[in-house]
Each structure stands twice: as structure tokens, then as C-alpha cells.
């Protein structure tokens, strides 16, 4: 836990420089726009602790796998999000001395991420040798409006001296991923060019033996300068060396004169441009944005944020820390994924770091889709589904590597391009419940949006592939006279290679049922389309559907008759049943205990049976949910960032308000307060959606039933009021929950009927109601 970040409703504020936490601050203050992202690094050189990080969406490198012992079926490479060319760099030399905040005295310092505007700003006054006081002010953003560009305004003012300043904006491609498996560099230079006040660098990912696509990224920059607000055009001295271009200007500044540099940069990827044309594209992009100028770019950028906040803001009155926490989560989700490009996804660290490889986990389906469904245009969630459809063939190949046949699909645990990029057998090969989450997301989307086109167009093919996988993955137990699922790892990764994980068995059966229903529905409504899919997937109607039905009817689910709870897996009750209070001094167990001890303990890393009861709530009586919650929650250590929100939502539904609030607090400020001591590696982007869910699905009880939006809002005792905005099937609502009342406002043109506390409420366009 760290507490150096100032509590503020809209801003993340570092008051006074904390060099010891600099990498944490850099993570917290990362900027992005869906296409590119940049950690909160300084523009000028900094010799202290820093993780320079610039990332271009969809650009990765297949880093050679590192394992202790190779197992058949492991992937050859681990696709790494690629740390790319540094585009923010501006060297400042004052009288021949390089400005470096690590070596000079700092008189004043603040770094502020304004989440309302998506702007990172820095104010500092530093003292250089000879008691020279220098003021620094920088401001930058990754433009949401022109989403392959960023802009920086960087100014210096000598407060009590006159000196020659050399200012050198540069692009530097000599960048390595900190977590490269063998400390290799992943970039080659293709081309570079400098002129006057411009520079361009085209880098390409190195050759690889895996046949993986190579990416080129063109980074370009141009800058202008003013002194006291007046344009100046001093002679610029371009310089080039391997993977580096710069241009320097020299200006004599008198005491009190402010030199401001406006640096415009672009990052264009060969995913979006013809590789041979990148340099030209970069030049014209740079020309276009620098012509707009900083102020116009800035205005266009903050307008996009204003529109986003209008759709997804949550306000909390009565607790600034909670307010800051929830906006922090929403802000990062919003700048990580915009839904414009169905080839992209939501990396576990977004654009804030490079730990873990790959960009896509089941987090997307289980956690992020509900957030985007409710807070963005329909196409955003739909694009996340299409992403998986695009990877269906790879998922089929992935399953084939593990011995499955006939179109069975196993989606990877971690991926960038559809290929598996994870290499712990207990996860890669066994944490197969991920396949179920991908099926569930199709249902979730269809239920929320009412969109009947996705299933026939894309979804059913995916469901058939996944159903085929489940069919082959289960085993008929002669001993039990039922189907069993052997050797899996459930969502609770503190168990490995267990038999009959209740959650996995449940979601497998659910998938089969949903696939059968979908086929049945299409049979009645569009048999022509169904026929196309049957032909395309070579579905053996008589055999396969009968098999699936037989499995649905004959699956084994571990259950304890005494306690009347589902068992997380077969044999769970052989464990010593303790509660987290019994090991209070030994947590987090993942940092204190050896793996075998964790495995044979009853302690649960993240919701498992409860994850199932959360997803499939409608299938279970409240009493059942309560009994299971009361059994499992006391042994859950929540050492996954994905866990507390699920427990929180269930607790809220069960009326366990204190528990629900405790869970909310755990998720909301996880990164801001560096709860897990790992924020320096980057933020936990995907679990941020869980924080949003804790409020909207938890406190406000948002659900969809029979095609209708449902709300059952209450207010935590700790707050005075809160409000949130959600969209539903074309309508947009603002819901304000106060101690005594709930106000629901339809902010859109489309009328909507919804259920609030069990009663139907009808809201005309722009109407408001009080409950």
C-alpha cells in the first residue's frame, strides 16, 4: 500500500517528486488512445528509476519461449507487446549541461493526469548548478481525435539567469522490452530521415523463425518553438544515428523568458498502411496535425473525452478516494480500447507496461465486455466478439496440437494473433474454462443488445467449435456412469490439474445447451442460414447434437449433500477447511507459501464456484447462492485482481452490504494505492472493468431479464450518493442513487421500459423519474 497520490475527483496528482515511486507514477499516468500509448515518462533525459514505455496497438514480437522443461504442445514463442520507439524525448541542454531531474535539486514538482481531458501535465522548478532556477512545464496527450498521433507542449523558463539553451527533440528506437526472455532486441531499422525540424524513423520487427508477421512502424516528429508565445525559427541542426533521429535548436534565453516547444508525433503501423508507403504516410500525417496546431488538436482531443464521460462517468459523493478510484478505472479502460478496430483487444497491462505477453485473456469476455456493452456503442463489444471469430481457425489448430479433431476449437489462454502464447501446462493445456467464457460472451452480448444478427453471422460457428471441444474433452466414467472432466484448472488457479471442477463442468454443459438452443432457434427462424453453417462447419446434425444432449443430461457435478454446496472440484472436502482469518499473518500466500502448500490448502485465489453462480445466477435459487457464498467467501484470498468484484456483486445481490463494500474498496484503488506491490510493471487494466461492475451490477443491481434492463439499486452507507450512466439498446440513462431516492433520467431520444426494484418504469425520450 502506498499513499503518495493526492485524492482528487478528476485528477491523479503527484505533489512533490517521488523518485522512489517513479515507475509506479509512470504506470498510473499512462496515456493512450486505443492505437498507441505512452507511460508517464519525462520528456527530458532522466537517469533515475524509469521504465520508458511506448506501445503501438497490435504490434508485437514472437519472443522465443523460455521454459525449464519443454512439454509437447508448448508454443514456440510468447508474443510480447512491443516497447517501441520513444517519441516524447526532448533533450534540454543549458549552458552545455544536460537537464536531468535525477541530478538537480527540485524546488517544486507536480505531475497531474487530468482524466476528464486525458492530459498529462507537469510543473517543476529545479535548481541547476550555480543556483540557477529553471521552471519546466510540460503537457501532452495521445490524441483521441487523431488516434495515431500525440502532441507535447514543453516549456522552460530561466527564472534567475540568462543562458544558451539547446533543445533537441528526438525519436529513439534503441528500445528493449524489459521482460524479453533472453534479453534480445526486437527491432531493426529500415529507414530514417531528418530535415530542419522533422525526423522520421521506420523500424521493423526482427526476422523470426515462426512465420509470424513482421511489423513496421513509422514514427515521425515535427516541432515548432515560441519564446514568450511568439513563434521563433532558429536554425535547426538535424542529427542521425542507428535507430535515432533528432534536430536541435539553440536559443539564448534571458531571465524570465519562456521557451516553448510544440512537438507533434505519429506512430503508423504496417497493420494499417502499406509497408512501402509508411514514410510518405507519416509525412502527410505529421503535416496535417502540425498544421492544425497544438491548441486545435487539444480541443478536438478533449471533446472526444467529454463525449466518453457523458456515456460512462460514475460520480460518487461522500468519498473522494472512491470517486477518484472509479474514474481512474473508467479512464484507463476508455483509452486502452476504443472498439474501432476488431483486430485489437484489451491487454492485461494495456499501454501501461509490458509484463505478461499477449493482449487477450478470458478477462476480455468475462469482465470487459459487460463494461463496454453498457458504456459504449454496440459495435465496441461486437468487435471484441468478432476478434475471436477471426481467431476461430487458429483455435481449431490450437486444439489439433493437443490432439483434438474435427473442428474442435480451444481458444488460447493468452494470445496476440490467435496462437497460444502461454507455457505453463497447468494453464495452457488445462485452464480450458476460458473457452466457456468466450461462448458466454456471445450470449451476454446477444442478451444485452438484442442483436439477433451476430449469432447466425459469426457466433454460432464459434459455439460449434467450442462445443466440439467440450465433447472430446470429457470422459465417460464407467465408475460413475456419468461424464466427467479430468485434469483441468479452474478460474481458481490455486488448484491445478483437478478432476471435475464444478465451474468448468457447468460452463461446458451450458455451452452445449446454448449451442443446441441456438441451432434450434435458427432452425425455426432461418433454416437457410443454418444450412449454410451446417455445410461450412461440416456439422453432423444427428450424431453431434445427440452427443451434446447426452452430455448435458449426464454430466457429473461434485456436490456436498451435508452442506448443500457445490464442490469446487471432486475431493475438495478432503482438505482442511479453514478461513482466511486463520492465516491472517501469512498473506498474501502467493508470496509466502510454496506452490504445493497453496495447492493442497483450501484457499481460493479467485471466484470459482462463485464465478459460475455469478454468470449463471438465473439458474440458481438465492438460497443456493447464499449457501455457496457463505462457504467459499471465507476461504477466498482474492489474490487475483479479478476476484473481489465477483464476490462484491454476489454480496450486493444477497444484501450483504458490508461485504459488498469491502470488495469494492479492494478493487477500486488496487493500482492507485499499489495494493499488490506491482503497479510499477503497469496497471491491471482488465480488472478495472470489474470495478465498474462492482458499482453498476453490484450496488445498482444492473441485469437484463427477458430482454429488459433491470436495476435494483442501493447505496453503500459510506456514500451520500452516486450516479452512473449506461446505454441499453439505443437508449442512454443517467441513474442517480441517493440515500432516499433513485432518479433515472433518459438522456437519449429513445424511450425505454425497465424494471426498477421489480417494478416496470417507462421513460420517454429525455424523461426523468424519481423512485
Amino acid at each position: 500500500m502506498k499513499n503518495y497520490i493526492t485524492h482528487d475527483e478528476w485528477c491523479i496528482v503527484e505533489n512533490g517528486f517521488h523518485p522512489e515511486h517513479n515507475e509506479i507514477t509512470e504506470s498510473l499516468m499512462s496515456l493512450g488512445n486505443g492505437r498507441m500509448g505512452q507511460r508517464g515518462n519525462f520528456e527530458e533525459r532522466y537517469s533515475g528509476k524509469t521504465l520508458l514505455g511506448n506501445y503501438v496497438a497490435g504490434v508485437y514480437f514472437p519472443d522465443k519461449t523460455r521454459v525449464g522443461w519443454w512439454k509437447n504442445g508448448y508454443p514456440n514463442y510468447f508474443a510480447k507487446v512491443l516497447n517501441a520507439c520513444n517519441w516524447i524525448g526532448i533533450d534540454v541542454q543549458i549552458g552545455g549541461q544536460m537537464l536531468d531531474l535525477n541530478t538537480c535539486q527540485i524546488e517544486e514538482f507536480s505531475r497531474v493526469l487530468d482524466m476528464k481531458k486525458g492530459i498529462l501535465e507537469r510543473f517543476a522548478t529545479v535548481i541547476l548548478p550555480g543556483e540557477k532556477r529553471l521552471k519546466i512545464h510540460s503537457k501532452r496527450f495521445c490524441s483521441m481525435a487523431d488516434d495515431e498521433s500525440g502532441a507535447i507542449s514543453y516549456s522552460v523558463t530561466p527564472l534567475n539567469f540568462e543562458e544558451d539553451f539547446i533543445i533537441t527533440p528526438y525519436l529513439d528506437g534503441n528500445i528493449r522490452n524489459r521482460d524479453s526472455n533472453y534479453n534480445e532486441s526486437f527491432w531493426n531499422e529500415i529507414e530514417r530521415e531528418t530535415s530542419e525540424n522533422c525526423g522520421y524513423l521506420i523500424l521493423e520487427t526482427k526476422e523470426n523463425p515462426y512465420g509470424v508477421e513482421r511489423f513496421r512502424v513509422a514514427t515521425g516528429m515535427r516541432f515548432t518553438a515560441t519564446v514568450n508565445g511568439v513563434d521563433v525559427q532558429p536554425e535547426s541542426l538535424p542529427f542521425e544515428t542507428e535507430k535515432y533521429v533528432s534536430a536541435s535548436i539553440k536559443i539564448n534565453l534571458k531571465q524570465g523568458e519562456e521557451l516553448a516547444v510544440y512537438k507533434y508525433a505519429v506512430n503508423l503501423s504496417s497493420s494499417n498502411y502499406e509497408a512501402g508507403n509508411l514514410l510518405d504516410a507519416a509525412k502527410s500525417y505529421i503535416a496535417r496535425i502540425s498544421e492544425k496546431g497544438f491548441e486545435q488538436l487539444y480541443t478536438e482531443h478533449i471533446l472526444v473525452w467529454a463525449d466518453k464521460w457523458a456515456k460512462n462517468d460514475i460520480t460518487i459523493d461522500g468519498n473522494v478516494a472512491a470517486q477518484q478510484g472509479i474514474r481512474f478505472n473508467i479512464f484507463h479502460l476508455g483509452q486502452t480500447y476504443t472498439g474501432e478496430d476488431e483486430r485489437l483487444n484489451i491487454g492485461p497491462k494495456g499501454f501501461t507496461g509490458e509484463k505478461y505477453g499477449g493482449s487477450t485473456y478470458w478477462d476480455t469476455e468475462a469482465y470487459c465486455i459487460p463494461f463496454y456493452l453498457a458504456t459504449a456503442e454496440q459495435k465496441v463489444a461486437r468487435n471484441l466478439l468478432v476478434y475471436r471469430h477471426k481467431h476461430l481457425q487458429k483455435a481449431i489448430e490450437n486444439a489439433e496440437k493437443l490432439g483434438f479433431t474435427g473442428g474442435a476449437a480451444l481458444y488460447p489462454m493468452v494470445t496476440m494473433n490467435g496462437e497460444e502464447c502461454h507455457n505453463e501446462w497447468e494453464i495452457t493445456f488445462e485452464e480450458i474454462h476460458r473457452n466457456g467464457a468466450i461462448a458466454f460472451a456471445i450470449y451476454d452480448y446477444t442478451r444485452y443488445t438484442g442483436d439477433k444478427t451476430y449469432l447466425p453471422e459469426f457466433g454460432l460457428e464459434v459455439l460449434i467449435g467450442i462445443s466440439r471441444f467440450w465433447k472430446q474433452r470429457i470422459t465417460w466414467s464407467k465408475d460413475k456412469n456419468l461424464y466427467v472432466m479430468l485434469g483441468v484448472t479452474g478460474p481458481n488457479e490455486y488448484e491445478n490439474n483437478v478432476n471435475n471442477n464444478w465451474y468448468t463442468n457447468y460452463i461446458a454443459c451450458w455451452t452445449l445447451r446454448y449451442t443446441l438452443e441456438t441451432i434450434g432457434g435458427l432452425w425455426e427462424n432461418d433454416s437457410k442460414k443454418l444450412n449454410e453453417i451446417i455445410v461450412k462447419t461440416n456439422l453432423q446434425l444427428n450424431v453431434e447434437l445427440a452427443d451434446w444432449k447426452h452430455i448435458v443430461e449426464n454430466m457429473y457435478f461434485p456436490y456436498d449433500e451435508t452442506r448443500k454446496v457445490y464442490l469446487q472440484q471432486q475431493g475438495f472436502l478432503d482438505k482442511e477447511i479453514l478461513t482466511v482469518d486463520d492465516i491472517a499473518d501469512q498473506r498474501p500466500i502467493n508470496q509466502r507459501w510454496s506452490w504445493d502448500r497453496i495447492l493442497r490448502s483450501c484457499f481460493i485465489k479467485q471466484a470459482d464456484v462463485l464465478q459460475g453462480l455469478y454468470l449463471f445466477e438465473e439458474d440458481f435459487e438465492p438460497d443456493v447462492i447464499r449457501r455457496n457464498f457463505e462457504f467459499y467467501e471465507p476461504m477466498t484470498v482474492h489474490e487475483s485482481s479479478l476476484s473481489p468484484c465477483v464476490h462484491g456483486i454476489l454480496a450486493a445481490g444477497l444484501g450483504l452490504k458490508e461485504k459488498a463494500y469491502e470488495m469494492y474498496v479492494r478493487t477500486a484503488r488496487l493500482d492507485l494505492d499499489d495494493y499488490n506491490n506491482d503497479t510499477e510493471d503497469g496497471l491491471h487494466i482488465t480488472s478495472m472493468a470489474g470495478t465498474w461492475m462492482s458499482v453498476v451490477k453490484g450496488f445498482a443491481g444492473q441485469r437484463v431479464k427477458d430482454g429488459m434492463l433491470v436495476l435494483n439499486p442501493y447505496i453503500p452507507d459510506q456514500w451520500n450518493s452516486y450516479s452512473f450512466r449506461i446505454g441499453f439498446q439505443g437508449s442512454w440513462l443517467k441513474i442517480s442513487v441517493k440515500k432516499q431516492e433513485v432518479i433515472i433520467e433518459n438522456t437519449s431520444e429513445k424511450a425505454l421500459a425497465l424494471l426498477v426494484n421489480g417494478k416496470e418504469v417507462y421513460l420517454e425520450a429525455f424523461a426523468k423519474t424519481q423512485i
Copy 2:
């Protein structure tokens, strides 16, 4: 399977050069003497496929661990058997051209390992450019009599030409381990010296951050030369460079003249000499052996082998391949470990390669000890036990790292110095049955030798440490009202993290019982000594012994009432029960199937329940053994080299002669025929003891019951006769088994009573009997 090795009773013969198999031949023809070992490399330079390998017993390096994902409790390093200075090298230049069998034409070639004498000999006639025919003859050994030295006789004869020959014997320390985790070099040079016809190189293992002992090794050489058998003393030109020393002589040879070089070398380790004194020690060692001269060294060496064979030879009449196979196994065991030094152990590859790290696995206790007990002096097996006693404190620390307390000891899965050197959690943390094998070996030794001193002196302390581990490792299952053991991997590594592995549960209870019995026995016979041990180990008699007894009486053992077989682990019958015949086209499964598929299949890598029935045979009725054998053997794929011998011994005991012979064939020529396609990495040294057991415990039914040697010999139909030699409590026997009779000869001065086919036989000193 490869068949290029000529079948021969005493020799391993490569007739004609097989460069494509050179690394295999190098492994097969490795030489050793317990202190040092050398692969069957060429003396002269060879630019083809080769793995140069020279190993010095007990010398290792802590190579930084490489894992994909770090888990708490993993060791920081993996102790690697260290490839050391090349001492056999002799460069040959003829008219300025370097001799290299990879680039010249080969007219005749044979490489022969004479196992009777422990000599590697090579004959070749090669054709050099200009149709020059050159004869080469080399002969070398690692002296069994002077076990820190080796000697080489190397001669060349120009058959049809006259030329200047430059001969350069050298020592080269520029050697890397092929399997270094990060391709690092592990040696520094400390000192080097050359003079006339001598050279010395002192290397030290690099600094390491783990506080692991650094080793120095002094390698020294001296050489003499003759022409046509007459000493010559041409001027010698010494040369030195980093980690390299040499001395060259130049001689003009006329057609038909034979130049022979005799190279003497030593490898002295700082484990045995004061580090500062190594150079002097090497010089005086070299002086001593070179003074003896090649012939005397040779004679003394082969006398040691003669003595060894007199103790442990097995003859087989009727099948040369079988004869060669069994001697090959005995030979390598004999040169890997001599039992002189209780700090050493039997590495999985011995001195024949460097794959895997560490030198000690449970193979030593479960497989090698029975071999050394029966074929070597008592101290050899005893030293192997003492080795583990020396590591007791480390085993306690190892257990502490995993959260155990109060003197609980967990011996490592792989080790060099007592610290764990393995880093797959399912093995390192969970394959804990190894602890039981270490306890069992104490029993096995005591039973075989009748030595009553080992238990009080060393053994009981180890038993107490292991018993404490079992006590803490088990869990009381309220559900079963019995003790269970959760999260283990049994000997069958094709199951991971299972609950209640029958074998592990059994050996744990057995250990507790044996410890209790040992304490009880000592209580009666030597309560003073017992008291010392109680004080030393801080044993809480009332509490701990009562706990152990309660566990012994209340352990859960999975069992199938229908089939009346023990279940390998809880839930085994949920699997689809198939036989290996069902997957004949898919074997070996470890090369064809992904790990999850292997894990959820019923297929067994190596004996597991059957390993228990083999070790604890006396606890079970033959019917029980038969039922379990008939259940498990059909699903055992024997993809571990340690498996077939156990099945073979059980089969022999059950009268399943064909199965027993099938299993024997599988183990005996595993390396010779490169059955697993991995002989090039080195030989499977520890499983070689299993081959010996297949004959002696299998076909001949050797056992010990109530302190008496037992034999129940039969002869496989495929053989005419076989004989073997074993020692038992000071007597030495030769047992010859023929189609119609068994002849037992006491070759020692000590009379012996034994049970043969259930009847007592009494043999006076040097007496013989026919049965």
C-alpha cells in the same frame, strides 16, 4: 533403434566409422574410474559431430535457474555436472596439415571398448591428400588403480610416405556445458604452466551469487615418445594461451616408422587437495605415474577390473546380445561409482554426458543400492547412505523453504550438495515419494548386510527427519475420517498433483512404522544411544510417536472393491481404462501427446502401485500382486528407463516368464541400441542397476528373508545358461543356472546358509552344490 554396434561378449565394437552416430558412440564408449570420466572422443582434432566431455567427480557449477514462471520455493540454481578441461587432446600435423577424421578419407576404422579391461582402443587407416596412407592406433584408460589419472598411447605410422610430423599434446579448458541455461561459461583460469613436455592448467569455477562452493581443478599432463618402440627425445616447444597449454614435438617419419606418444594426465580437485597446493600435487602425481610408465599403469588398471568382474560378472550363454547388454550395464555402473568417497553419488548420466543437472536422484536408493549391496564391499552401499546423512541438514532446510518445521526433512529430487536443483513444481514440490525411498534404502541395507550399527549411528536421525515430514505433509480428512495425502506426484510422472497416490501413502506409513520399530528396538538394545539421538533431534517421544502411530493406523488407501486392486490414486477409475495395445501407433506418448492428454489418460510411465508391491512384496499375498500386475501392466508404457525392470522382477516372481523376458530385453540394450533416441546425450546409468536386478532378483529370485539369502532361480527359455556372482554378508557366491540344474559355488572363505527354492542349503568355504 540403431544396430551399428557389433555384438560381442566382452567388447563394444564400432566396425567402420559412423560419423552420423558419433555422439552415440562417444557415450557408449565413455571411460571412468569413479573420480573422473571421459566420453569416447578422439584424441586428435575432429571437426564433425562430437560432444567433447570430461567430468571430474563432485565438481559442479550452480547454473542460474531458467523457468517460464517463477514459483515460490524454487531453487535459485540448478547444479550442473561440469564439463571440464579436455585432457586427451593430441593434435597431429603432417606436412603442415592438421589430421581430422572428418575431412580425410577413411580406409579402415574400428573403435573398441574392452569392458573386461576398461580400455578404449581405436584403429584406423586414413588416406590424406596425395594418397598418403596413415595408420592410427590409440589406446586409453582412466586408471582404476590411480583414480585421478588417465593414460593414452597414441601412435601414427605413415604407410606409404615420408613426412615431418608435428605432434602437440595439449590441455584445453575452453569448454562449455552444452546445456548451460544461458550459454554461459563456468570456468576461470587461475594458473597455467608449461615446460619441456609437461603442461598444467588450474581452472576455477566462476563466482556465483548463491554462496556455493567454488571448485578448483588442476589438470596436468606429461608425455614421452618412441619411434618403432625406441625412446626419442626431440626438442619440445611449449605454448600457452588463455585456458590452454601444449607442447609440440617435430619428428620426420619415414615410410613404415611408428611414432608413439604416451600421454599421462591427472585431474585433481580442490575437494581432495588444498586449493593452494594443487599445482604441486599435480606435478608430483604426474611424476609418479609417468615414472611407472604406460605398461605398469595399464597392468595395475586391468587388475582392478579383473577383481571387479570376479565379484559382479553375469554370464549368459545362448545370446551374445544379451551377454553384451548385461556386461555393458555392469561395466558402466562399476566405473561410475566405486564407493570410495561418501561425498559422491551416481549421476543419471554418470561420466557419459551432462544432460539433467545434479548427481543424485532417488534412483540411487531404489535401483543402485541393491546392485552395490550384492556386488561390492559393504562400505560402498554404506557410503551411499552416509551421503544422504550428510545432507540431512540441507533436507531440513529444503523442507523449511516449503513451510515445514521442527526438523522435518524433505530430500531433494535432484541434488549435488543437498540443495534442491529441480524446478518443475509438480516434481520438486510434489514428487515426495523420494523421501520414502531414502528411508527404505536404510532398511534394505540393514536387511542385506545384517549391519546393526548403521541405524543408531546415522540411519535413525534420517528416519526421524523423514517421519516428521510425513506427519506434517498429510491432512486429516473430516470427510473420510482418515488421513489423506493431497497434491503429490507418484513415481508415475504421467500423473501430477493427485490426491492419495497409493504408493506414496504406503511408503509414508511404512516409514513411520519402520521408524517406530527402530526406536523400539534401540530402546531395548541401546537406550543410551537412543537417548543421545532423542536429545540431538529434540524428539518429543510422547507426542511425535503417538502421532506417527495414529497415522499408521488411520491412513486412507484408495482401493477398488470390484477388481480388488489398489488404485494408483483416488479417482483413477474415472479414467477411460485402455491398454497399450489400443494406442500402439501413438507411442511413445511423451513424443506424440500433449501433456494434458497424457495426464488424463490411464497410461503409466513407470511402475507406481507395482513399485510398491515390488518394494514391500512381503506385505502382500501373491494373489494380490498378481491382480494388481494384471490390472496395471497392460496400461504401462514404460517410457521411463526405470520401469521395465520392476515389472520384470514381479513378472518373474509370478511365473510370467515371457513377460519377464520381454521386460529384460527392454532394459538391457536400452542404450546400446539407442532405444529412446537419446544415447547421444549420455547413458542411463542408474537404470542400468535395474537391468542387473532383472536378472538377479528377477530370473534368479534373489531376496533376503529373516536375515537369510534366498534364491528361486529359473532360466529364460531363450538362454542355455547364465551365471552371476553376488556377495552376502562376507561370503561370495557364483550361481550358475542351467536348463536342468543350478550350481552354487561359495568362492569365499566364509560359509553360508541360504534358501534355494525354499530349501536350506549350507555351503562351506569354497564349497559347491548342485540343485
